[in-house]
Each structure stands twice: as C-alpha cells, then as structure tokens.
Symmetry: C2
Subunit: 136 residues, 2 copies
DNA sequence: CTCCGTGCAAAGCGTTTGCATGCCG
DNA sequence: CGGCATGCAAACGCTTTGCACGGAG
C-alpha cells in the first residue's frame, strides 16, 4: 500500500488539472495551467506531484522520456520486452496480433508505424529478486 | 531519396557496431565500443551518425527518449495515437488485440504492463500537408 | 581544391534534488 | 509542535550544436 500524501493546495490543483485534461499534457503544460490558480507553484513541485501520482497509479506516463535512447539494427517492426529490473531490452519474436500487423487507418488517423513494448521482469531478475506480482 | 553520406571510418565503425549488436545499445554504449577501434571518436559524432542512420531507416530507436513526458489521467491501459505532424497524442478507443489484452508470460519474461503507440498523421495534419505515404 | 563530417566543448532541454522555510495534521 | 511538502535554484543525464580543422571525393 502506498502511503497517503499530505493534502496540499498544490496537490489538489495538479490532480484536478490532470484529471480534467482531455489531451495528454506535459509537465510544463500542467505547470503553466497550475500557475493560473497558484502563481507561486514551482515546476519542481509539479514534477514531484506527478511522480507521486504515478506511483499511486492515478496517472500514467504516456511516453517514456526518462531513459537514454536505445538503438536496434533490426529495421522491421517488432515488439520489445523491456525489463523493469535491469533495464535490458530484448526483441520479441512471437506472432504479432493481427490488428498490429496491419495498421492502416483509424478514426481519421493514418497509421504509418507503431511501437509495442511489454514491460516486466526477465528470468534473471525474477530469480534474483523473487518474482514480483502482476502490475501494481 | 536520402542523400548518401560521405564514407568515413567513423561511420563504418558505428554501422558495424549497431548491425552486429544482439542487444539494444544506447548511444553511450555504441560510443564506448567504437572507441576500441577509434580512440578519438567523439560522443557527438556517434549521435550524429546514429541520427543519420535513423533517417536512412537503417536503425530504429527502440525507446522514445527525445520528447517530454506526457501524462494521462486515464489509468487503464489503452493505446495512443501519436501524430508525427503536430505531436498531439490521442487516446485510441478501439478494441484491443487479444494478445495485448492478456499478456502474461513469454519466453521466461513475466509481463506486467505494456505500451502500444500508433504513429501517423491526424486528420488536420493530413489536410494541411497532404497525406504522406505509408512508412518509409 | 572544395565541402562535409569530425572533435571538442559548451549549450539546451527535461527532470531531479539539496536546502531552508512554511504549512498540514 | 513535529515532520513532510514546497519554492527556489543548482545539478544532472542525455542529446544537440557552433566552430575550426582535416579528410573524402
């Protein structure tokens, strides 16, 4: 269980913005929006609150902008297995779901590429740390 | 057609490393490896070459470490449509491929989460720029 | 010979963190 | 009243870029 956070005006405002957002705001956008209600809120605080919300599972990070870029000499599209324990990335060579193998057009959006990543724990990390339970 | 690059020793070495790599090296790892053959190669050059290779389609970036993180108040897993024209991110509400809805274990790797992103062009950008052809 | 790709170092960008203060509980 | 979250600014990690030089064609 995640420890409950102290209730502050900053947290209230940030939570409200993220929950009300129809788009997918970046931290900077949340910050700009939050300043309308709390002119002295700092960007660092916004980041801290967003990180807490993520840990609480109340918000998810759509992109994955934290780690360094990793390059792959294979240029065909294929899913990757990303180990949350050691950070290693492996190719996934199983069969692709049909909807992924033939993306074309959806909702007026023309698909030209996709990225599919599975997150979890590799054999080595599970052996070392004990197998973590499913997501959460 | 992408203009051919000048043939240099640096480019040759970096291409060799990326193509030979079984894992998914980061730029820093490519750099360290490259220095074994070219002690004076610079990290900046490695980045420049990797970017060129990406543009040529000879390498792909497994992660997406360039842009800022974007947050989503929806906490259920759902794919996103990322517009390459304007950068906007939309939720995808269609049905999920079966293999994605029930990930569990594959190749000794315990899956606890996944991320599925479709890249393409939204209606607005296609209207403005003309519809780009499929991936390439 | 002409340019482009390189090495180097500094800048850029998004994110995190150390410290003192103030507010929550 | 004690401790944790905040504000501020500096630090951080990864990536890009300006500049002068050297090598490719």
């Amino acid at each position: 269980m995640v420890k409950a956070q102290r209730h502050t005006r900053q947290r209230e405002v940030v939570v409200g913005i993220v929950r009300a957002a129809t788009g997918h705001p970046s931290a900077a956008e949340v910050y700009l929006e939050a300043r309308k209600q709390l002119p002295h809120i700092s960007l660092g605080t916004v980041y801290r609150i967003l990180n807490v919300l993520q840990r609480e599972g109340r918000v998810q990070d759509v992109t994955d902008a934290r780690a360094a870029a990793r390059f792959d000499g294979r240029t065909d599209r294929h899913p990757h297995l990303v180990c949350l324990g050691c950070g290693r990335v492996a190719d996934f060579d199983g069969p692709l779901p049909a909807a992924v193998t033939a993306p074309d057009e959806m909702e007026g959006f023309r698909v030209v590429d996709y990225r599919l990543e599975f997150y979890g724990y590799c054999r080595e990390c599970r052996a070392r740390d004990g197998a973590p339970a499913a997501a959460g």
